[in-house]
Every structure is written in structure tokens, then in C-alpha cells.
Symmetry: C2
Subunit: 343 residues, 2 copies
Amino acid sequence: MKIIHSPRHLGHSGHVELMNGQVVPAFEKPERVAMILNAIGERPFGTLIEPAAHGLDPLLKVHDAAYVRFLANAWAMWTADGRDFPALPSFWRAPGMRTDIEPETIDGKLGHFSFDAGCCMVAGTWDAVQAAADIALTGADLVASGERAAFALCRPPGHHAHAGTMGGYCFINNAAVAAQSLRDRGAARVAILDVDYHHGNGTQAIFYDRPDVLVCNIHADPLQEFPYFLGFADEIGAGAGEGFNANYPLRWGTDYAGWGAALDAACARIEAFGADVVIVSLGVDTYKDDPISQFQLNSPDYLKIGARIAALARPTLFVMEGGYAVEAIGVNVANTLEGFLQR
Amino acid sequence: MKIIHSPRHLGHSGHVELMNGQVVPAFEKPERVAMILNAIGERPFGTLIEPAAHGLDPLLKVHDAAYVRFLANAWAMWTADGRDFPALPSFWRAPGMRTDIEPETIDGKLGHFSFDAGCCMVAGTWDAVQAAADIALTGADLVASGERAAFALCRPPGHHAHAGTMGGYCFINNAAVAAQSLRDRGAARVAILDVDYHHGNGTQAIFYDRPDVLVCNIHADPLQEFPYFLGFADEIGAGAGEGFNANYPLRWGTDYAGWGAALDAACARIEAFGADVVIVSLGVDTYKDDPISQFQLNSPDYLKIGARIAALARPTLFVMEGGYAVEAIGVNVANTLEGFLQR
Ligand SMILES: [Zn+2]
Ligand SMILES: [Zn+2]
């Protein structure tokens, strides 16, 4: 299995987030990738490769042009006001407010294009975001050209990003960009299986009215957990997409008994859908010691996750999402891939 | 003119806000009221009185019951998690997200019921908020019973608060609560004239589909300024309320020449409406040295504002909103009242 990686993620560092009423260093940090590379390096999984440049066109197939323009220009606008510290939004478009007018000022734009104070931008953010999208697209290329599987080691992650909204550490939805690329390269049916602890609200929203991309999400109940305002079981898709979105919300404290049952159900949906290819939004913040999460999976459980996904017997692209227990993230990712490859 | 004041606003102190990517002490602070009381005390305006308790029923006529329940319980829920520092929301309901399900956890509730990271709660917030509403209601009582005018020295302010959403330092919309009280006491037509630097998005939204309360707002262009996502000139009301909302957005740098012209236009609307009573949402953050605002009014200009409002010749309730240049806030408020009384 090829592992696609770029050191350009390192530019997205020193960023912060608002948590518990305080601005703190973001839990989503560069060390996460280093730990994954270390753990993968200890096992004979395959070759590490750099991504190929794909430009912005594939991003614009799932994201709004105004949003991509904002991402590209935000840091320059923020610093033009004399600010040399990380950019965070402070105000948002609540229900009942206008969504049709992009503010002129950078503070207004930050709110217009976001849904939380967890999408912080620094000087290297946009370059890292583009590299992450290229990583996912290069993985899609490999799978489209016949590889059984690939691992897109994306950072920053993507699954919280909507077509025109950043949030939850996510800017460009790497998995969605890859799914669209696979569709454009001939896959009739693409399934996205999101196993991150948090609901992949952006991925769901992007494909919500489409029958060609099935989105299955296993995640913490939004009644209890971020992103709170999407991820309920009654969200089944809309219009032509009705029946092509499946949510499996689980309560805090869920261990592998409950989690694995949801995985079996999601995999049955993917088989019934007849997916030509599977994209796994791979978050390992389901781990028992994750600092911001409340599930109870143990490291050996990730071997089982990988094996169950392998049993789908479809070309599979793993796209890295969350996981914040830096000590364990490498082992848990490597276990998932090992479980997949050993099957 | 009676001035209604309560020391209970002092409980809302030590709070913070997210600004410029950093958590800083809130610009909306107790010293604001002290400066106003000092300046008013130096002039023979009238008696300082305490508010009468009105309970929650008048608040529930313009606010959602679930929202009021949240405000009453939020601090207890926040501290039950072991947190003894100010509560700030971190995540919001972006367009496309669910608005129909209130999260179970306090972090989720904070996002569900807010639109920015400028509505911080501390131990004394809810008591101060109730006192501010009682101050506005007591002012409404005075005007309803025949007084020419009253000054409700509310703190925290209210005009950014929607029926079910806090933001912009505001929790309960004091002016809206007072307007509804005046309607319930027999005023057929109530006009709200919001002269705060920021658009009174909450007041607009609460009365947007009603023809009995005319809302006029003079404020910084939302293309440039908070609250960004409401306050455009094309927002004229909806349904039965069409034609009963008027916005006068003005560009950064506006001085009294431009500002006064908008005031004349708003006053003409109020006269044409035939208001039985006028509520002035009195913010003085239009002042040239306000630390978070970009208009260029000078202290003598507030005498003219008061005189122009007096020329409406209607019973008038002044309700305190914003103003953050602590050195000047007292003089500017006192000038407004003096200009009104001298006419
Ligand atoms: Zn996650
Ligand atoms: Zn203001």
C-alpha cells in the first residue's frame, strides 16, 4: 500500500482554538503526522510517496469558488491589518441571518465562511491545505489506476468542511474531493465510510442530495458532542440523495462491542449500495485515551476495524482525519492498516 | 426624567470575549455604568430609582421558553462540569445545520443559543440580565403611566439578542421586552429607534413580521462591521411586517453630517408611522474614540441627537445599549438626555 505524505503540513503549526472559554494550542498539531509516520515505518506496509500537484479545479468541484478564494486570501487580508498572530473567527451566521452577502472585511469573512472557533489560520495553512488535498487526490489516482488500497496521510483533516464553510480543524474536505475525483474517473458508485469519533458533517452536507456517493458516519451522538448540529439518525439524504446518507450516532462511553456493531451495519449498507470504491475517513479519536473524545476503543480494536473494511473487498482509499492522543495515534492508524492488509 | 438603575449589574463582571483571535476582558464592563451615573449626577436630570420586579413572563413574550430556561441554568451546568471560569461558546449552527434539537451538554447548548463568542457568562450574569430587563420594564411602566420620558440604564445591553439567541454582549433584548410591555399596556404603535453603532439585529428579528412595532436602525454597514449578517438596507420586514423595518447602514468614518441625515430620515419614518411611543436603543459607540467602532461623532453631537428625538414629541423611553469609550460614555449619554430635555 502506498502512503502519500508531504512535509508541507508542517506549515500549519502554531495555531490555536477556542475551547472551554480559553484560547489554547490546537489539539490538531504537526506531531500527529510524525507519530503516524513513525509507527508506519516500523511495519512493512509499503512505499512513502509525495503527492502530485492537482491544482484547484478538483477542489472547486465540491467547494464554492468564493470559499476557495477566501481560503487562498485570508492570511494576507488578516496580516494586512497588522496582525501577525493566528486568525480565528469570532462571529457567525445564526439561523435567521443573511447568508447571501460576503462581508468586505476579513473579520466578517472569517465568520461568513466558518462555523466554529476551531478553524485557525496561520501563514502556512493554505499551503498545507492544498498539499492535503493533493495527497487525497493522489491516493484517488492510485486507487483509480488499479491499486487495492492507498493511505492518504492528510493534514489538516477535512471531514468537517462543508462546500462553503470551515470548522473543526478542517478547511478543504479531502475525502469529498477524492470521492468526486473517483466519480470523474469512472467509478459509478463511491462509498465514504467515516469512522472518526466526530460526525463528518461536511462530507454529509456535500453529498446530501446525491445518490452516487453513499456517506456512512459512525460517531458520537450529536446530542452530546461536536459538531452538535448534524449527525442525527434521521438524516437520510434529501431529494435524489434520499436513502444515501446513513448516520450511526453512539453515546459517550461506547466500547468496541457497540462500535463494531455499527461498523457491521455501515458495511452492510455499503455492500447493498454496490460501491465500486470505498473511501475511509480514518479518525482514531475513538481511542479510549483521546483527550477530546469519549469512546472506549483499545488499540487492538483497530486491527478488527481494518479487517472488517478489507472484507468489503473493494478498492479502498484511507484518508486521514482526526485522532489527538498523540502517543497512541501512530499505533492505532498502523493497526487499522495492518488489519486491512492481513485480511 | 426618572433614571432606573440597579447595582445588580455588577454581578456581570470578569467576563471575557474572543476578539482578534484572543480571549480578552470584555469591552462591555461595569465601569460603563459608573461613568454614566457620574455624568448624570452632575446635571439636574431627575431622580434615580430602582426597578420593580416583573418576573419572567414579560421576557417570555418576546423570547423562546427554551432559551430563557437555558439562560437561567447555564452557569450551574457549566460549573457542574468543574469549570469555575467564564463560559463562552465555541461552535455554532451554520447554514445547513439543524436548529430543531437542543443539545444535552452545556457546550452544545451554548452554541445552540448563541451566534458569537462575545456573550460570556459568569456567576452573576443571569441576575444582572434579569435586573436589566426589570429596568427596561420599569421604564415602560413610567412612560405608560404618563411620564414624558424615562432612562432605563440597562446593563448588559440587549439589542443583539434574538428570540432564541444571545450574542454581542446581549442576552435578553431589553428594548424588545419594553416594546412588548407598552403594546400590552395599550400603545397601538411602538417605534424603536436604535442609534447604537452596531445594527440591532435581535430587535429587528423579533419584530420583523409585525406591523405594530416599527424598528429603525442607524448603524455601521454590515459589509464592514459586526453583526455582519443582518442590517442591510433591503431588510424591510416580512409578511404583515413588510414596510415596518428600516435600516440606515453607514460606512466607516461617517461623521455627524452623514449620521444626522440618517437620523432625520428615521425620524420622518417614525412620524409617518404615527408612533404612540418611542423607545430609543441608546448606544454611544458612535463616538469618535470608541475602541471597537469606526464612526466620528463628537460629544456635542449627542446634544443634537437628543434634541431631534425630542422633536418627535412622543413619550420616549431611552434604553441603554453600547458605548465602550469609558472616559466619554457618561458625557455622551448625558448630552443625549440634556439635548432631549432642553428642547
Ligand atoms: Zn474527530
Ligand atoms: Zn454597539
